[in-house]
């Protein structure tokens, strides 16, 4: 049981995971059973090093405004957002929106 996906933090968001940009994550569910909602919960439990950093990632029970979520390089909005069903080998990219110029 369980399968692997890749999680990336770009745009400075790797601050929530001790500066590590890429993670291999094992999802402790059967393939076909886990959604992005489970993934996010899993990330807050296993990747975010310091609980104080959770509000940098989560707001009102979902990913904070200003963070883009990409599923295999595609906007999660096109893939069903939190209801997308994870497949083994999927790449999930979370990136802060940058404002500087």
């Amino acid at each position: 049981m369980g399968f692997k996906v890749k999680v990336e933090f770009l745009g400075g968001l790797d601050v929530i995971s001790g500066g590590v940009r890429e993670h291999k994550l094992t999802i402790p569910l059967e393939e076909g059973e886990a959604t992005v909602k489970d993934l996010i919960e899993n990330i807050t439990k296993t990747i975010i090093a310091d609980p104080k950093d959770i509000p940098v990632f989560i707001e009102d029970d979902t990913v904070r405004p200003g963070i883009l979520v990409l599923i295999n390089d595609t906007d999660w909005e096109l893939e069903g957002m939190e209801d997308y069903v994870l497949e083994s080998g999927d790449v999930f990219t979370f990136t802060s929106t940058l404002h500087g110029g």
Binding site: G66, L68, D73, D75, H99, G100, G101
Partner: protein, 288 residues
């Protein structure tokens, strides 16, 4: 520079020859399109400097520059269009004086003011396309709303530290806008400017140059309503430089400015019913 045909002088043919022979550029018709185009660059800082350098060199006919900031020595590691002797000058004036030396065929208008609800429509409506080279969410939302309401495409760039982002917004009034991507503003405490967070000069420079490439593609008609696909590109300077393209959502029908029943109108902006500073929280509103 006397014209040798209805379009150009001999100097211009020599000057633009090397780009006109690139097949994908589109030859003389594309050069004429650039000459007949006008663009507004908001922010003559880390993004605006390289964009201005390469777009004026490429032969855009008219360039407007909005920036109410003056050159500081702490800008010079990345804002390479300004020099030590221009410290204290308005950035838009410093930029104009270099562009005049680089390419005398470009007309440059300067606006040493801060873009606001009161002046944004009057300025933006005069140009074909807007480059958002600014530094804070409040101004980004303002530029977006006014450009959408004026029907202008936005080439949007941003960066911080060693990373950057690039997108085309409101492409020909069919592409998604900034609010389609970000309907809710970020909380003010999560926003970092280049002054506060720092930035590697050539990293933000690379994003500014990539904005120049996109601007050329839009103005020469490389992108069309038929082939355009919404995207956001992400540049990372470390650990290895890469520039990745993400496929993005289409225009959102529930968008508050470009959607089917928009709540934001020219009137609501001009009458200050939309308060960008309050909407985004109070971030240091310097346009760098």
């Amino acid at each position: 520079y006397p014209h040798i045909d209805e379009h150009f002088s001999l100097d211009e043919y020599k000057r633009y020859g090397r780009q006109m022979i690139v097949p994908v550029f589109g030859s003389l018709p594309s050069q004429i399109k650039l000459k007949n185009s006008s663009i507004l660059v908001v922010g003559a800082g880390g993004l605006g400097c390289p964009a201005l350098l390469y777009l004026s060199a490429a032969g855009i006919g008219k360039i407007g520059i909005v920036d109410d900031d003056t050159v500081d020595v702490s800008n010079l590691h990345r804002q390479v269009l300004h020099t030590t002797e221009s410290v204290g000058m308005y950035k838009c004036d410093s930029a104009k004086s270099y562009i005049a030396k680089l390419n005398p065929h470009v007309e440059v208008m300067t606006y040493p003011i801060r873009l606001s609800n009161d002046n944004a429509f009057d300025i933006i409506k005069q140009y074909d396309l807007v480059l958002d080279c600014t530094d804070t969410p409040a101004v980004r939302y303002l530029i977006n709303d006014v450009a959408v309401l004026c029907g202008k495409t936005i080439v949007s760039g941003s960066g911080l530290k060693s990373d950057g982002q690039l997108s085309l917004l409101n492409f020909q009034n069919i592409g998604p806008c900034y609010r389609c991507f970000y309907p809710k503003p970020p909380s003010a405490d999560s926003v970092t400017t280049c002054s506060d967070g720092g930035v590697i000069g050539p990293a933000i420079g690379l994003v500014g140059i990539s904005m120049a490439v996109e601007t050329i593609k839009v103005l020469t008609g490389y992108y069309t309503k038929e082939n355009f696909k919404p995207f956001l590109s992400m540049y990372s300077g470390y650990p290895q430089q890469q520039f990745r393209v993400f496929k993005m959502r289409n225009r959102q029908s529930n968008c508050s400015v470009c959607g089917t029943t928009p709540s934001i109108s020219k009137e609501s902006i001009v009458n200050h019913e939309i308060d960008y500073a309050a909407f985004c929280g109070n971030v240091n509103p310097n346009v760098l």
